[in-house]
């Protein structure tokens, strides 16, 4: 059981949790993740470690409520407990001084890219961050990015804040402006990562993406997280999660991530039904008393 010390919504459906996990806080490196379970019947959900505090013995994770499990997690508040937290898992990001390094985060991907962006800065890079969101209210971690990297660009799909357009267009703009870019890290929805890979491919810019397949154990025991990179099968949980963007089979990843779409619908309906039943029971018992 791991206690939640702090919790806060950063945007609609996106919540940040600071949780007690001293061992993981002491060990983790940028790019690594944990697997959490919200309760004793819960799924094992992989989440990137966004930050850690060695002294307080805490780690920070940022959760986007999409399915049943993540929605349930986002109903947790400080003082509540995660049933299980295991980690740090996966290979740390490869951090070196490339020269100029651009980290790109789409949606909640900004949170996942954040620790590596900071690591790239510490490794001596000139760091540029592009933070993309659908609309202004969904932009997250802007302040933290501004405090820790050299240049920050915000893009919104609807133009409500920053550059009006996609993160790829902002990246293309930097390239067209003649900026010398040596390294790109892109984390976000799969179509976004694929588009970034295609943007940098003609220029031969070293590009890394962090993959998010469905996982179970996270230790290489089940092979559920397999993906194809450079025409070879990899287990993302132990071989990754970061891979050369120009070699990833994104189509396969998209297809495999749809394995449980139908079950997910059932789970969400079941969740709402139980939730509704609880509220209903409560109303009845209150009526009785």
């Amino acid at each position: 059981m791991n206690k939640i010390i702090e919790s806060k919504f950063l945007a609609k459906d996106v919540k940040r949790f600071v949780i007690e996990a001293p061992k993981i806080a002491a060990k983790r490196k940028p790019g690594q993740f944990v697997i959490v379970r919200s309760n004793s019947k819960g799924e094992r959900i992989p989440l990137t470690i966004a930050d850690s505090d060695l002294e307080k013995g805490t780690i920070t994770i940022i959760v986007q409520g999409i399915g049943k499990s993540t929605k349930e997690i986002n109903s947790f508040n400080s003082g509540d407990f995660f049933h299980d937290v295991v980690g740090p898992l996966g290979q740390p990001s490869h951090l070196e001084n490339f020269g100029t390094a651009v980290s790109i985060g789409g949606g909640v991907g900004a949170a996942i890219a954040y620790p590596t962006a900071v690591g790239l800065k510490q490794a001596g890079n000139h760091t540029i961050s592009i933070v993309g969101a659908r609309t202004k209210d969904l932009v997250i971690l802007e302040e933290e990015m501004r405090a820790n990297v050299d240049e920050v660009y915000i893009t919104t799909d609807d133009g409500s804040y920053g550059f009006h357009g996609f993160v790829t267009q902002q990246l293309q703009k930097l390239i067209d402006d003649g900026r010398k870019i040596d390294f790109v890290l892109a984390i976000g929805p799969i179509p976004m990562m694929r588009a970034i890979a295609e943007t940098t491919r003609p220029y031969n810019i070293k590009t890394v993406v962090s993959l998010n397949p469905i996982m179970v154990d996270g230790t290489g025991m089940c092979g559920g997280c397999r993906a194809t990179v450079d025409n070879k099968t990899v287990f993302v949980c132990v071989d990754g999660p970061e891979f050369d963007a120009h070699k990833v089979d994104f189509d396969l990843l998209i297809k495999r991530n749809k394995t449980y779409t139908q079950s997910e619908k059932t789970a969400v309906e079941h969740f709402h039904q139980c939730h509704y039943d609880k509220v209903f029971d409560l109303a009845i018992s209150e009526n009785k008393s």
Partner: protein, 475 residues
């Protein structure tokens, strides 16, 4: 006292069948298939034992359970004493009575078997262990006075649990580190409830807790702590590595990453550990088998477990696809027999060459090739050879690959100076289970490659003995 039966009378008693759930009922539930002997049946079966002066059956047991002696106690109705006798050599009899391949270990050596069917040693072991657990309650052994030494055990499968039992009784502090969120290893996440009820494993774990063993789940050694940190920062005096096999092999044929293709580890973990059979009450889903056709590739216990699980999840057609013939199947004979009774279809001498699927990435079938048996290969089994132009497509919606496990590389990558062989198994002294590192011992599947519960348990006990000697001599 009754007059003892003559040898002739004993030989006249037929082998007592195991009461079991009806096949057509049990293939729709996850309750245990075998119901166990009653006391009457057990005593009758025990009377079949000839009490040979030189019991060959004991030689067949990898840990040397005193079979003749415990069976004689059962025949006399002294079940508690029989339980104590078994426990001298086997700390997990309720488990082993259920999952050991008795037909190729002890029972194959049974002299009664030369003429009639052998004495049902496994069923008797199971009866005695269940009787003890249910009727007498767990009797905890007495631990020696505290030594002040600490042992770290990595992995909570049968090897880790048996080593923990012996080390705590020797007076050491014992901590078991487990990567998953529950204790038990393959006994928990691999072998299904219908063959090994999880409550049996839980009772064993509780007994160890009561003796003072500390269990730390969610601890992936190599990541959360390294072996070296256990020995230095954490102050353990010895480490026993029992992390199992834990790296699923795939077949490396086209289409293997289609949706609906699973490793046996993933399929069984989802169903057993994560309880996907109870979705959506439990959150983890698994492929919806209802009314579907599924094929499991392999011929071992894992394959039988996976195929029978899929049937219980509602599969209409559930196939075993195996490239050799039935006699070469490594699975326990009872599992193959039960699978057939439950309506599993066997596609023998068939080998998959490609998975086929839709544009959207869903599995629709598997291309198979018929085989015939040639000369024996290195394993001594006749080698399957493809028959020309025998290709055909079997339409399936789900596939489970159960062709074995390699070694998980996490420990290898994070433990300098630890010697491994070319298959990634830890190299040990076969008597002491000591590795190339001082104070570091290893046993179970990580040393042997995928083997059996009883061998893992035996290795755990051997290691415990050597650890106790090592710690006794250590300043």
């Amino acid at each position: 006292m009754q007059t003892p039966l003559s040898k002739k009378d004993r030989m006249k008693i037929p082998r007592q069948p195991m009461p079991e759930q009806d096949p057509d009922v049990r293939n729709k539930n996850f309750l245990e298939v075998n119901l166990g002997y009653t006391e009457e049946l057990a005593v009758l079966e025990a009377q079949r034992c000839l009490q040979c002066p030189k019991p060959f059956c004991v030689d067949g047991c990898p840990v040397g359970v005193q079979i003749k002696d415990f069976i004689s106690l059962v025949a006399e109705g002294k079940i508690a004493e029989a339980a104590a006798k078994i426990k001298e050599d086997n700390v997990l009899p309720a488990v082993c009575g259920r999952v050991c391949p008795q037909e190729e270990q002890c029972e194959i050596k049974c002299v009664v078997g030369n003429k009639n069917e052998p004495v049902a040693i496994g069923r008797l072991e199971r009866f005695v262990a269940d009787y003890e657990r249910e009727k007498l309650g767990m009797r905890l052994p007495v631990c020696k006075p505290k030594t002040g030494k600490k042992v770290a055990i990595v992995g909570s499968g049968p090897a880790g649990l048996s080593c923990a039992a012996d080390c705590i009784q020797a007076g050491h502090g014992v901590t078991v580190f487990e990567a998953l969120h529950e204790i038990g290893g393959v006994l928990l996440y691999g072998i299904p409830e219908f063959r090994l009820p999880k409550d049996i494993v839980k009772v064993e774990v509780q007994a160890l807790e009561e003796l003072g063993v500390e269990f730390r789940t969610n601890a992936v050694i190599g990541f959360t702590d390294s072996i070296d940190e256990l020995l230095t920062v954490e102050g353990y005096d010895a480490v026993f590595i029992a992390v199992g096999a834990g790296l699923p092999y795939f077949m490396n044929i086209p289409g293997e990453n289609l949706n609906g293709v699973y490793s046996a580890n993933e399929f069984l973990t989802r169903v057993n550990l994560m309880k996907a059979y109870d979705f959506p009450n439990h959150d983890t889903p698994v492929f919806d088998c209802k009314g579907k056709s599924v094929a499991i590739f392999g011929g071992g216990n894992t394959a039988m477990d996976a195929v029978r699980t899929s049937k219980r999840l509602g599969a209409k057609n559930a196939y075993i696809v195996y490239r050799r013939s039935e006699i070469e199947m490594p699975a326990r004979a009872e599992e193959v027999h039960h699978a057939k009774q439950e309506g599993i279809e066997f596609q023998l001498l068939t080998n998959p060459i490609e998975f086929v699927g839709t544009e959207e990435g869903w599995l629709t079938g598997v291309k198979l090739l018929k085989m015939e048996l040639g000369e024996p290969d290195a394993s001594g089994r006749r080698k399957p050879i493809p028959i020309k132009d025998s290709e055909f497509i079997l339409p399936i919606d789900m596939a489970v690959i159960a062709i074995g496990n390699g070694s998980n590389p996490i420990i290898q990558k994070t433990t300098p100076g630890l010697e491994f062989n070319k298959w990634g198994n830890i190299v040990v002294n076969s008597e002491t289970m000591l590795t190339s590192r001082e104070g570091v011992f290893a046993g179970g599947d990580i040393v042997t490659g995928g083997a059996t519960v009883i061998l893992a348990m035996g290795a755990g006990r051997k290691a415990a003995k050597a650890i106790n000697e090592y710690l006794f001599n250590k300043e």
